[in-house]
């Protein structure tokens, strides 16, 4: 007789009931839509002609790469996701998908996205996509997020890269224009996420994530939001006087910049609980529109130039 009586050990392997919708949720579809849009603009403003099939392939690979980053982020952060009301409904904390399943899913998608972009489009774009995924997962999620209040400032670089990857896919090289686009997203990230963190600071504190409002307090965060918004507005307008983008963009970015600045000043001034919350929510919502409208304007400029070149 063996020491362990195997008949008494009952194995109950976990059989997944996760559906396609659960795996789609792992891809962070809302973040993915912003990535696709900014990448599309990077691709469209790039010089020269890109075959529609190659353009579609590039955007698809960038979208899948962004989804892979989201899945790997949820794999690593499942412990803190379970503690925050905003993220407690994600597939891993809900028990729909296990961590190893999310890891395997994310790694597989990342591999296919990078290899497909490299093989079908060009390896420079493939390498940039691989770097973007690495930066988001390893540098931001694993190294920075739980360690420093500057997590989203540095980590914002990952979210800023999709237009650069798309430009590289279209041209095989880099130029000033995509870097300007990525700088806009880079400086947009802190005011956007700190606004969110201001009205979700209890969540972050409970999860032990050192977001700026948790570590430095709401007043210091409001000042930082205002300072970063000033830089953002200047960076967003700069391509116009520098001659990279046209007047439509210049006027739009100036008007939107003033609105963004007014809302940031409101966030800085309003300290009473109800008023402060409203001002912060307004800034958070407007910041999404702001980025979307800036990039949409560039898209409209390119389309208008193509449709009616004589006007330009």
């Amino acid at each position: 007789m063996s020491v362990i009586d195997h008949n008494t050990i009952e194995f109950s392997p976990r059989i997944s009931e996760a559906g396609v919708a659960d795996y789609m949720a792992l891809l962070k579809p809302r973040v993915m839509s912003l990535v696709v849009f900014t990448a599309l603009v990077g691709l469209v403003i790039a010089p020269g002609h890109v075959h529609p099939v190659l353009a579609f392939t590039s955007i698809l690979c960038i979208a899948v790469g962004a989804g892979a980053s989201g899945a790997l982020n949820m794999w690593y952060e499942s412990d803190i996701d379970a503690l925050m009301s905003r993220t407690a409904n994600r597939p891993i904390p809900r028990g729909r998908i296990t961590r190893p399943e999310a890891l395997a899913f994310g790694m597989t998608l990342a591999f296919f996205a990078v290899m497909t972009l490299g093989i079908l489009v060009n390896w420079f774009a493939g390498a940039l996509l691989a770097f973007t995924i690495f930066f988001y997962v390893v540098v931001y999620t694993i190294a920075l997020k739980r360690w420093t209040a500057q997590n989203i400032v540095i980590g914002g670089a990952a979210g800023a890269l999709p237009p650069v990857v798309a430009w590289a896919a279209a041209t095989g090289s880099l130029s000033v224009e995509p870097i300007l686009l990525s700088l806009i997203i880079f400086f947009w990230t802190p005011p956007h996420f700190w606004a969110l963190a201001l009205f979700r600071s209890d969540d972050y504190a409970r999860a032990g994530v050192p977001m700026l409002p948790v570590v430095a307090g709401p007043d210091a965060t409001r000042l930082q939001i205002l300072l970063y918004t000033l830089v953002l507005v200047a960076v967003a307008i700069a391509p116009w006087p520098l001659g990279y983008f046209d007047a439509i963009y210049g006027v739009t970015s100036s008007i939107l910049g003033v609105a963004m600045l007014v809302l940031a000043i409101e966030v800085y001034r309003r300290r009473e609980r109800g008023e402060a919350l409203r001002a912060t929510r307004k800034l958070f919502a407007f910041s999404i529109f702001y980025l979307f409208a800036l990039f949409a304007t560039l898209l409209i400029e390119v389309v208008a130039r193509a449709v009616a070149p004589s006007i330009w």
Binding site: P13, I15, S16, E17, A18, G19, V20, Y23, H51, V53, L54, T57, L60, F112, T116, I119, L120, N122, W123, F124, G172
Partner: protein, 54 residues
Amino acid sequence: MADKREPDGIVLTEAQKRSRRQRSIAIALALGVLAVLFFAVTLVKGPAVLVRPM
């Protein structure tokens, strides 16, 4: 005589079978898209498909 033995091992519930089928179809579709994509790019690039710019 009909052999009506109980199946050995793990027996999936209806929900588990349904979700496994969903996942299998999704994987098949993804592989199909990948194959079509490689075929389409091969047609678009022609002989240049072997050129790999860094």
